[in-house]
C-alpha cells in the first residue's frame, strides 16, 4: 500500500511541494495565461518572459501564482527549474519529453539528463487521474509561449 503511494509521492515531489521554486508573478512578461483543471478546480496564472539570444529566443523568466495539489504544485516548481534560462528550442524539447513521460502509462524510462528532478514524476504516469495535475503548469507554459511568439510574428 505504502509502496504504491511512495512511487507517486517521491521525496523530490514532496520537497518541491513544500518549497516551490520561482513562485509569484513577476514583471516583465509578454503573455499571461490562466489555466484550470475543470475536474478539481486547480488553477494557475502564469507569465512568460522571452528575450532574444544569439541563436533565437531564450526563456528569461516564468512566474506564476497557483492553487493545487502536491503533484500540480511540485510539477510547476520543477518545470520552472527546467525551462528558465534555457534557449526556447531546448525548453520546448524538455516539454515534449515530459509529455511523453506522462502519457507513457508508466512504461517510458525517463532521461535524467533532460528531465532532472522531473524524473520523479515517472510514477504519476501510472495514476491517470493525476496526469492532468502534473501537466497543468506545462500546458499553461506552452500556451503562454505560443501566444508570445504569435504576438511577435503577427
Amino acid at each position: 500500500m505504502s509502496s504504491e503511494l511512495d512511487s507517486l509521492y517521491q521525496e523530490i515531489i514532496l520537497d518541491h511541494y513544500k518549497n516551490p521554486h520561482h513562485q509569484g508573478l513577476r514583471d516583465p512578461f509578454e503573455a499571461e495565461v490562466h489555466h484550470v483543471n475543470p475536474t478539481c478546480g486547480d488553477e494557475i496564472t502564469l507569465r512568460v518572459h522571452l528575450v532574444d539570444g544569439a541563436e533565437g529566443p531564450v526563456v528569461q523568466d516564468v512566474s506564476y501564482d497557483s492553487v493545487g495539489c502536491s503533484i500540480s504544485q511540485a510539477s510547476t516548481s520543477v518545470m520552472t527549474d527546467l525551462v528558465i534560462g534555457k534557449p526556447l528550442d531546448e525548453a520546448l524539447s524538455v516539454h515534449e519529453e515530459f509529455l511523453t513521460l506522462m502519457q507513457g502509462k508508466g512504461k517510458v524510462e525517463p532521461d535524467e539528463d533532460v528531465l532532472e528532478d522531473g524524473i520523479a514524476f515517472a510514477g504519476v504516469a501510472k495514476f491517470p487521474a493525476r496526469i492532468k495535475c502534473a501537466l497543468l503548469a506545462w500546458m499553461a507554459w506552452k500556451d503562454a509561449t505560443t501566444q508570445t511568439l504569435e504576438a511577435r510574428d503577427g
Partner: protein, 421 residues
C-alpha cells in the same frame, strides 16, 4: 447501531461490486454515492433479461417483441410515477439525466409560449446549486436578456432567506433550487419556497437529484401551493443505470411548453411545411428513448421501495451522524455545511489542514477508500466558503459504520503521511 437498515449485511450482498478488492487486496470502501450509486443485482438482471429476451423498439413496433418492449418501457415510467407519487403518469418525461431535464425546462422557456422568459424577467437560483442547475439558467438569461439572481448561503451552510422579498417579486418568472445540496448536505425548505414563489406567480423547479435517493417523495400529498411545478432526478444516483433521468412536471405546464428536441416519437403529423406534436410526455421524448435504462430504473425504484424510503432515510441519517462525529475527531478537519445530521443529507464535504483534497483522496484510495476530491460541480458554493476544492464522503443504503471507521483511520494516516511525514 440503532437506525441502520435491518439486515444490512444481506442488503450488501445485493450489490456485486461491494465484494471487489483493490489490487493489493484491501476491501472496497465506496464512499462516493452522491456522485453515483452502486447497482443491485436485480437491476442488472432486469436489464440483461430485457436485452436477451425482449429487446425491440417501442411505441412504433406492433410485433410480439415490440409489444413486450413497450410494456417494459412504459412500465418503467409507471414505476417512476409511483416512486414520486406523481398525480399522473403522463407527467413523467424520461430524459438522459437530470442535467437534460433542467436544460429542457430552461431551453423551452426561451421560445414563444405563455411562460416565455424575456428582457426584464428574473430567474432565481441559489449559490449552492450543482452546475447543472446554474449554467442552463445562465444560458437562458444571457440569451433572452433576462436577469439571473440567486439566494446566498449562510455561514452555517443554510440557504440565506434574508433577501427573499427582494428575490421574489412580480418580475420573478422562475425559481429553481436543489432539495438537498450535493456538497453541503443542506436540506432546503422545499415547501416554503414554492409557497412564497407561487404567491408572486413564479414557476418553481426542484432539483431532487440528491433527494430522490435519500428521502421519501410524495408529490400528490403535497399541498398544491407548496408543490413544485417541476422536479427532476437522475437514474444513476437511485441505484439505476446511467443514460436516464426524470422530469416530472404538472400536466398543464408540459402542455404549455413548446417542444424541446424535435424528431421521431414526439410528433403527431409531419409535413415538410410544418408539424404538429404529440401530447406530453411523448412531446418531450424525441427519438428512441432510453428503453433498457427505463427497465433498469424501474427495477431500481422498486428495489428502493421494497427496502422502504423511510428506512433508507433513517439509515442515511444514522450513518451521517456517525460520520460527522468521526470526521470531527480528526485534528485539523473542518466540515463545510451543517454539522447536525438531523436536517441534512448524506454528502459531507470537508477540508483537512495542510493537505490538498487530491492528495487526501489519493492516500485514501491507496487504502481502498473511495471519496471525491474537487469542487463536486458546485464551484460557487466552494467560493462562498473561500475554498477552491474539498474532499467529500457520501454514504448510501449499503454503507456500514465500519466503512466510516476505515475513512477516519485513513484520514489519520493521511495527516501523518503528509503533514508530519
Amino acid at each position: 447501531m440503532e437506525g441502520l437498515l435491518p439486515q444490512l449485511e444481506v442488503v450488501r450482498k445485493d450489490f456485486p461490486i461491494l465484494t471487489r478488492t483493490t489490487p493489493d487486496g484491501s476491501p472496497l470502501v465506496y464512499l462516493d454515492s452522491a456522485n453515483t450509486s452502486q447497482k443491485p443485482q436485480c437491476v442488472i438482471d432486469a436489464m440483461v433479461d430485457h436485452l436477451e429476451r425482449h429487446n425491440a423498439n417501442v411505441a412504433r413496433a406492433m410485433h410480439l417483441l415490440g409489444a413486450e418492449a413497450t410494456e417494459a418501457f412504459e412500465g418503467g415510467r409507471d414505476k417512476v410515477a409511483a416512486f414520486l407519487g406523481a398525480p399522473s403518469r403522463d407527467e413523467v418525461v424520461l430524459t438522459k439525466n437530470a442535467s437534460e431535464a433542467l436544460n429542457l425546462l430552461a431551453n423551452t422557456l426561451a421560445w414563444p409560449g405563455v411562460h416565455q422568459v424575456g428582457a426584464g424577467d428574473v430567474v432565481v437560483t441559489t449559490e449552492m446549486e450543482h452546475h447543472s442547475n446554474i449554467v442552463p439558467w445562465q444560458l437562458l438569461t444571457q440569451r433572452t436578456g433576462a436577469e439571473l439572481q440567486w439566494f446566498g448561503i449562510t455561514d452555517d451552510g443554510l440557504l440565506d432567506l434574508s433577501r427573499i422579498d427582494e428575490l421574489l417579486t412580480e418580475r420573478t418568472k422562475v425559481v429553481t433550487l436543489t432539495w438537498v445540496s450535493n456538497m453541503l448536505g443542506t436540506v432546503n425548505p422545499v415547501a416554503e419556497i414554492p409557497r412564497r414563489a407561487h404567491e408572486v406567480g413564479a414557476l418553481v423547479f426542484v432539483d431532487a437529484s440528491q433527494a430522490a435517493p435519500q428521502l421519501p417523495i410524495d408529490l400528490a400529498a403535497m399541498p398544491v401551493e407548496e408543490r413544485p411545478d417541476a422536479l427532476v432526478f437522475t437514474g444513476h444516483k437511485t441505484v439505476g443505470p446511467t443514460g436516464i433521468g426524470v422530469l416530472w412536471a404538472r400536466a398543464d405546464l408540459l402542455e404549455a411548453l413548446p417542444p424541446f428536441l424535435g424528431g421521431g416519437e414526439m410528433i403527431e403529423t409531419v409535413r415538410m411545411e410544418r408539424s404538429t406534436y404529440a401530447s406530453a410526455p411523448y412531446k418531450f421524448e424525441a427519438g428512441t428513448p432510453p428503453i433498457v435504462e427505463a427497465v433498469g430504473l424501474g427495477a431500481a425504484l422498486e428495489y428502493l421501495s421494497d427496502l422502504g424510503m423511510e428506512s433508507v432515510e433513517r439509515h442515511e441519517r444514522t450513518i451521517t451522524a456517525y460520520a460527522l462525529e468521526g470526521l470531527q475527531s480528526v485534528p485539523g478537519l473542518r466540515v463545510l455545511g451543517p454539522t447536525d445530521a438531523a436536517g441534512r443529507g448524506g454528502a459531507i464535504a470537508f477540508e483537512l489542514d495542510g493537505v490538498h483534497p487530491h492528495d487526501i483522496a489519493q492516500v485514501l484510495d491507496s487504502r481502498g477508500v473511495a471519496v471525491r476530491a474537487g469542487h463536486h460541480c458546485a464551484r460557487p458554493a466552494h467560493e462562498r466558503f473561500g475554498v477552491q476544492s474539498s474532499t467529500r464522503m457520501s454514504s448510501y443504503l449499503y454503507t456500514t459504520p465500519a466503512e466510516i471507521d476505515a475513512l477516519v483511520e485513513g484520514l489519520e494516516y493521511t495527516r501523518s503521511y503528509f503533514t508530519l511525514g
